[in-house]
């Protein structure tokens, strides 16, 4: 792998956005994902290679460390931010059709619930894995999920709930989605959710963390 791609991967793993960014303190004044992505493109490396060989593996690594509780939310967010700084240079290739997204993922915290820290992480990791993500936010009613599915080409949906009183709200949402499109894969997550509950409400997958969700999507699509 080219030296630039290696450095890009390292920058994303350690959350180095660009030269001006003071984080992480031990990489002060060094260039970051922003400059390195541009450099890689200037060197003639294909955008697809940059994404697949540097960016996705970097986010994969970060997701794994997070799952092992060796990294926390802020470090993961810094990595996601450096990845998106690099992505800014790749975006024009998506627009021109030279590169394709893996699909569109719809995510939201179910109605009655306002906890969204976990949902936001899942959103970012799935974006980082090459998906377009539509985020409906918190306290999302069944009708909003249904409307959004009707208006967009959605392949998978993620539902988040952090309260034992709101995880039951996943069931009517899943039933409504199945009625309009039984093909859509539905992932559920959040601290009180588990595998048994996932099966009980007829979801396709329970993932305890964003990395597991990405692994599942990769295995299906």
């Amino acid at each position: 792998m080219s030296d630039t791609l290696k450095k890009l991967q390292q920058s994303i793993e350690s959350g180095k956005i660009n030269q001006a960014s003071p984080y992480p303190p031990n990489m002060k004044n060094q260039i970051g994902a922003d400059e390195l992505t541009k450099q890689a493109l200037d060197e003639g490396i294909e955008p697809e290679t940059i994404v697949n060989q540097a960016m996705i593996p970097a986010m994969d690594f970060v997701g794994q460390k997070f799952a092992e509780q060796k990294l926390f939310v802020p470090q993961m967010l810094m990595s996601a931010k450096s990845m998106s700084a690099g992505m800014e240079h790749i975006k024009p290739f998506f627009k021109s059709g030279a590169m394709k997204k893996k699909g569109t993922f719809l995510i939201g915290t179910v109605f009655g619930d306002l906890h969204d820290i976990g949902k936001n992480l899942v959103k970012m990791m799935i974006e980082g894995a090459g998906w377009e993500v539509i985020d409906l936010g918190v306290d999302v009613k069944t009708e909003r999920f249904v409307e959004t599915i009707e208006q967009n080409d959605i392949q998978a949906v993620g539902l988040s709930a952090l309260l034992t009183t709101t995880m039951v709200n996943m069931k009517p949402i899943i039933e409504a989605i199945r009625q309009i499109n039984p093909e859509i894969k539905i992932l559920v997550g959040g601290a009180p959710v588990n595998e048994a509950f996932c099966q009980e409400i007829g979801a396709d997958n329970y993932s305890p963390n964003p990395k597991a969700a990405v692994n599942y999507l990769n295995s299906v699509f």
Partner: protein, 254 residues
């Protein structure tokens, strides 16, 4: 007590009402504290500092922070896993009931960081400023916890009674549905916090809780052990600040 309006009235012969309003700057939240609450090491905080300070500075004039409580005497806590306060029965469950037993007085309290602080994380999320959103999120939670600590560790000790930890609807076996009953014990629009149809408090950065006071009850420093969510909990710093406030109460009292 920090700046802010203080209204302490005898609502009737028995109940006591406490209500305080603050500005964000009264809480004196520092970038160090925010960094520690985000589980960052001291070294890492340096890298985040410019971002944290920018947000703290944007919030300089934020207001609408309020906290208040109603204190009820109780003759009989009720049987089983319930407690009855002013004829309202709360299904606190076995664990909390055990902690509250022996209480002669019950404090029902709510606090909010206000709508500006509560809506900032979402606004920043919408503009894809994820990390800033998380910082704002942490600041909001820190603000709510600090307000709760003021009631819990600065005002309640003045009663001369011992007090328990604070417990919220949704904690341990206490169903979240009881939020409605808890709010029925408070005056209308108290602290400007409202319950939505789905029983969530608005503004979102709000907290509701119950504390028992009495000669025999006690505050437990390690109450995390009663919680099922320990493995995924990123709340440990907030616990530590609360314990520090508890320990400092003698010196911080007015």
């Amino acid at each position: 007590m920090a700046a802010g309006e203080q209204v302490t009235t005898n609502v009737n012969q028995f109940t006591v009402k406490v209500h305080h309003q603050f500005q964000f700057k009264d809480l004196q939240i520092t970038s160090q504290e925010v960094g520690r609450a985000m589980n960052l090491s001291r070294k890492e905080i340096d890298g985040f500092k410019p971002m944290i300070e920018a947000i703290l500075s944007d919030l300089k004039s934020a207001d609408g922070l309020e906290c208040g409580m109603i204190i009820f005497p109780v003759d009989d806590l009720g049987t089983n896993d319930w407690i009855t306060v002013d004829s309202v029965s709360l299904a606190v469950g076995k664990t909390i009931k055990q902690k509250l037993s022996g209480a002669q007085v019950i404090a029902i309290f709510i606090c909010t960081a206000g709508s500006e602080l509560s809506s900032l994380p979402e606004q920043l999320m919408k503009t894809e400023n994820y990390i800033e959103s998380h910082i704002a999120e942490t600041i909001g939670t820190l603000a709510v916890e600090k307000l709760a600590n003021k009631l819990h560790h600065q005002i309640l000790p003045n009663s001369g009674l011992n007090f328990t930890n604070r417990y919220s609807p949704g904690h341990c076996e206490w169903p979240l549905d009881d939020q409605q009953k808890l709010f029925s014990l408070l005056p209308d629009n108290f602290c400007d916090i409202h319950l939505t149809e789905s029983l969530m408090m608005q503004p979102t950065k709000s907290l509701s809780a119950i504390i028992g006071l009495g000669a025999t009850v006690k505050y437990e420093k390690d109450d995390c052990k009663y919680c099922d969510y320990q493995p995924t909990c990123n709340y440990k710093f907030f616990r530590k600040t609360q314990i520090a406030d508890y320990q400092n109460l003698a010196t911080s009292n007015p």
